[in-house]
């Protein structure tokens, strides 16, 4: 058993980004897990606690002007924002993988259409498109609704990276040998391509989740998010709305920013770590 | 033998990897006379390219010069600072690179890549003189003047390699090192490029070190040939005698594995694998694959014996007194 721990230790020395990334994300999940046990969700709704209280024993993170216990809001907010990110991320990866494989594997008209639309959509500012959609839906958004809005363009970047990977793989010798061994296309995709693609898929998923979270916080900060639910983005919106900063209520805006930063740095390091796993610098430089 | 222009003495170059120090070049001694063409032949991983790059001072980490000297005249190149070495490159020692396909800067024109080499060593050349030097040097390698304005992607493989040759000889260096210059070219273009290098060598009187794995190319081009195996020198000698009567068993097998056009079906391979350069076994490295291996070969490293213009490192010649 310790041989495997030893191998893992040696690997983390060579790939620190992965370890630190996982560590940060674990810290956040722990914070949410333990927090949700001790702090009741009910204290996240407005007027549930006395308003604008400085952090104290009773309210470790203080309360905001609308009477919400900020510790409860942080705990609930983290899980809601993560949920938005994961839903949008998975949708993005799912569509991205299919489109990426289809356009790379079955060349021709399909490929030109997909590649063309990806190139165009990449330059379009995704946040503004989402603003348009959110405004058209005019409030009344649930957390899941927000995830769907954010996932509108979440598939563009994964399609592009996966298509590139599959293209290089398709020309490689071992795919030719597989075709010669009589393996059918689906078999080749699953048996020959997928194992090498998994690290890239994981890295693209992490990037998609990060992008989705960034977009959702942006939309919510603009006031286009689910008004009632205490997501991290909505907290930022209320901070801006009530200009908490100018009122010196540091305990209102500092915690969401800290959590968001930890979340993004964690996801970023995880993605670079997975990229390193996919083609280690050693193999890359050889 | 004061006419020796370049001398390598017990040169050692190791690559420090995770698994340990790879002894790419392990105590190589050889010398290059003025105007001589020396061949450095061996299979992949024998250290010939490492020697070429070490002479140019282009060994980067994890590679490092562990020991030995490289004497250009009286100057020991291994002791020079980066600045001093930089001033020698192209001026005294020119390199014709291996990767013909990718050795030119893809985003600048051919003439700029010739000019920046010259200007790095002599600031005062006027623009007009530089342009005439560019045309002169391009024509000397058989390329028309129009090539000066072209980019790398507009040239064929052979033309790209000729531009590299033009750059390497643009400042008339004393020594030209060609590291497998034609391995990426077709056989027809290879002959044309090698002929160009040969003519230029005669005109400039420069000495050439040709590193490569094609014994046929060596037979046609070099005066003296050094055979490398797993980072060590196994045999050196004038090319005619070496081909006629190879001394070292590895050289014999190497020559036998060449599919010449004299007689069909008479070429066979060398069984076994090249040894690991990290955990170097004791004794002669060719011992496991050598048909004439003896007991002593697995214990002692054979010394390089000298005799009538030829050198060989093999215990077969321990008894014979070769002075």
């Amino acid at each position: 058993m310790n041989r495997r721990i030893l191998a893992a230790m040696r690997y983390t020395r060579r790939n620190p980004a992965l370890a630190v990334g996982i560590g940060l994300l674990l810290a956040i999940l722990l914070f949410w897990g333990i927090g949700s046990i001790f702090v009741p969700f009910s204290r996240t709704s407005a007027l549930s606690v006395p308003a604008s209280r400085v952090p104290s024993w009773e309210f470790p993170l203080g309360t905001d002007r609308q009477g919400r216990d900020l510790l409860a809001v942080m705990i609930a907010g983290t899980s809601l924002t993560l949920r938005i990110g994961l839903i949008a991320g998975f949708i993005g990866i799912f569509i991205g993988t299919i489109l990426g494989f289809v356009s790379a594997y079955y060349r021709g008209a399909v490929d030109t259409i997909i590649r063309g639309s990806v190139d165009v959509l990449l330059t379009v500012p995704s946040l503004l498109v989402m603003i348009l959609v959110a405004v058209a839906l005019k409030g009344g958004l649930t957390v899941e609704g927000m995830a769907l809005v954010v996932s509108i363009l979440a598939w563009v970047w994964p399609t592009r990276t996966i298509r590139a990977q599959v293209l290089t793989m398709r020309e490689s010798g071992y795919i030719r040998v597989a075709q010669l061994s009589g393996m059918s296309s689906p078999e080749i995709i699953v048996k020959e391509m997928m194992p090498n693609l998994l690290p890239y898929l994981a890295a693209s998923l992490v990037n998609a989740v990060a992008a989705a979270i960034l977009a959702s916080i942006g939309l919510e900060a603009l006031g286009l998010g689910p008004m009632e639910s205490p997501t991290l983005g909505m907290t930022i919106y209320w901070v801006l709305h009530y200009s908490a900063l100018l009122h010196g209520m540091w305990w209102w805006w500092a915690p969401p920013i800290i959590i968001i930063v930890i979340l993004f740095v964690g996801l970023f390091l995880l993605s670079t770590g997975l990229d390193e796993l996919a083609n280690p610098r050693v193999r890359r430089s050889v | 033998m004061n006419t020796q222009l370049l001398k390598l003495q017990e040169l050692q170059v190791f690559y420090h990897t995770d698994e340990g120090a790879v002894k790419a070049v392990d105590g190589v001694t050889l010398s290059l006379a003025k105007g001589e063409r020396l061949g450095l032949v061996g299979e992949s991983g024998c250290g010939k390219s490492t020697i070429a790059m070490t002479i140019m001072g282009l060994i980067k980490s994890p590679g490092r010069i562990e020991g030995g000297k490289i004497l250009l005249g009286e100057v020991d190149l291994t002791k020079l600072s980066e600045g001093e070495m930089r001033r020698l490159r192209l001026n005294q020692v020119g390199l014709i690179p291996q990767g013909a396909m990718n050795s030119l800067n893809p985003v600048s024109r051919v003439k700029d890549q010739i000019i920046d080499g010259m200007r790095a060593h002599n600031q005062q050349i006027s623009k007009r003189e530089l342009r005439s030097r560019v045309y002169e040097v391009l024509e000397s390698v058989g390329l028309r003047r129009g090539v000066a304005r072209m980019y790398a992607h507009e040239l064929s493989g052979g033309m790209k390699q000729r531009v590299c040759v033009a750059i390497a000889i643009s400042l008339h260096p004393q020594v030209v090192i060609a590291d497998e210059p034609t391995s990426a070219l077709d056989v027809v273009v290879q002959r044309e490029v090698m002929e160009t290098i040969g003519q230029l060598q005669q005109q400039l009187g420069a000495s050439v070190i040709l590193a490569g794995h094609d014994m046929g190319l060596m037979a046609q081009f070099v005066d003296r040939l050094a055979v490398m195996y797993a980072g060590k020198l196994v045999e050196i000698g004038p090319v005619k005698e070496l081909f006629a009567k190879p001394l070292h068993p590895y050289t014999q097998l190497l020559l036998a594995s060449l599919p010449g056009l004299a007689q069909r079906g008479v070429f066979r391979g060398i069984p076994g694998l090249t040894p690991s350069l990290v955990h170097v076994p004791p004794g002669c490295l060719f011992y496991p694959r050598c048909p004439q291996a003896m007991e002593i070969c697995s214990q002692e490293v054979p010394a390089l014996r000298e005799g009538d213009g030829r050198q060989v490192a093999c215990h077969l010649y321990d008894s014979e007194v070769m002075i």
Binding site: S172, G173, Y174, R176, V177, A178, Q179, L180, S181, G182, M183, E192, P195, N196 | E43, S44, S156, G157, G158, M159, D186, V187, V188, Q190, R191, E192, M194, H213, D214, M215, G216, L217, A219, Q220, F221, V239, K240, F243, L253, L254, L255, S257, L258, P259, G260, L261, A262, R264, G265, V266, F267, R268, G269, I270, P271, L273, T274
Partner: protein, 331 residues
């Protein structure tokens, strides 16, 4: 006697419009299953030899002309026939590093074949089959099986692909530059295992290479390619010892003899003007040919029968009988 694989007047053009390149131009070649020779297809880079390999393997389709498998057009094969095609037509590729999926051990390549062709029913039988195939190509199984590709040398990896072909008992093997990335000392052993396949298992082999010397030793007959078209074809002694086409003479002359006393390509300086390739109606080698005649620029030369089974596409042999229908190849 139907030939197992035949390319009939195949032309392949890549890219469209202005930047299209003709990789293969009106090329015909037939491979017969009986008395299987080892045929060599020799040409410089860009002569279209790899495109021909891809055409024969069905990876790409001809722009003009047909690729026939046992007399039937490849594109009209049924699913079952196509699977039979993949079983009977195998290949050995140039790059020993790219042929293995880095994720799996080396055995994967052999296991897939055994599974797909149901060659073994039990694990023990499968292991035995693998070991026997590996010994057949001269490598010790314990040194290779169970290892990852990056743990083996180029030579070992290439021999495992030959072992893979040995397992499949194909009807035809295309070896596309199998030894160009392998050291000289290992070249012979790999080529030996190929010739063994041909002699003992009667499998016709198409050896594609740019290296005339290895082709001289290994093959029975040789076809010389220049920019997508055949310029000369015949028995190996005839073509190499008595080349009739100026390009073949240039090729043979450019080989550096491993013999210092014999000077390199005496005389014969070819006019090198690479950019301008021959227009459609003229001989492609005309711009570089030292013996170019006016007729060479007007009409593309047909194949002349220099002597028994030795065809040359050059007006220098104008006096010889013309071979009809472009169907050449030694009988």
């Amino acid at each position: 006697m139907k030939s197992i694989i035949e390319l009939r007047n195949v032309t392949k053009v890549f890219g469209g419009g202005r930047s299209s390149t003709v990789a293969v131009d009106d090329f015909s070649l037939a491979v017969d299953a009986e008395s299987p020779p080892i045929k060599a297809l020799v040409g410089e880079s860009g002569s279209g030899k790899t495109t021909i390999a891809l055409l024969m393997l069905g990876f790409i389709l001809p722009t003009k002309g047909e690729m026939l498998y046992k007399g039937q057009n490849f594109q009209r094969l049924s699913r079952r026939e196509r699977r039979m095609f993949h079983r009977e037509v195998q290949a050995i590729f140039q790059d020993p590093f790219g042929v293995y999926n880095p994720f799996y051990k080396v055995d994967h390549v052999l296991d897939i074949v055994i599974a797909k062709l149901h060659l073994a029913s039990s694990r023990a039988e499968r292991q035995a089959l693998k070991e026997e195939a590996l010994r057949g190509v001269g490598i010790r199984p314990e040194e290779t099986l169970g290892h990852y590709p990056h743990q083996l040398s180029g030579g070992q990896r290439q021999r495992v692909t030959v072992a893979r072909a040995l397992l499949m008992r194909p009807k035809f093997i295309i070896a596309d530059e199998p030894v160009s990335m392998v050291d000289a000392s290992l070249r012979a052993t790999i080529l030996e295992s190929l010739t063994k396949l041909n002699r003992e298992l009667q499998i016709p082999i198409l050896y594609i290479t740019h290296d005339l010397t290895t082709a001289y030793h290994v093959c029975d007959d040789i076809t010389i390619l220049y920019q997508g078209s055949i310029v000369e074809s015949g028995g190996v002694e005839q073509v190499i010892k008595g080349p009739k086409h100026p390009y073949t003479q240039l090729l043979v002359g450019s080989i550096p003899w491993p013999d210092p006393s014999r000077r390199w390509g005496e005389g014969q300086v070819a006019v090198v003007d690479r950019e301008s390739t021959g227009a459609d109606n003229q001989c492609k080698f005309a711009p570089r040919c030292p013996f170019v005649m006016p007729i060479c620029r007007e009409r593309r030369p047909p194949f002349f029968q220099a002597d028994n089974g030795h065809a040359v596409a050059c007006y220098l042999c104008e006096d010889k009988p013309v071979v009809e229908g472009g169907k050449i190849g030694p009988c």
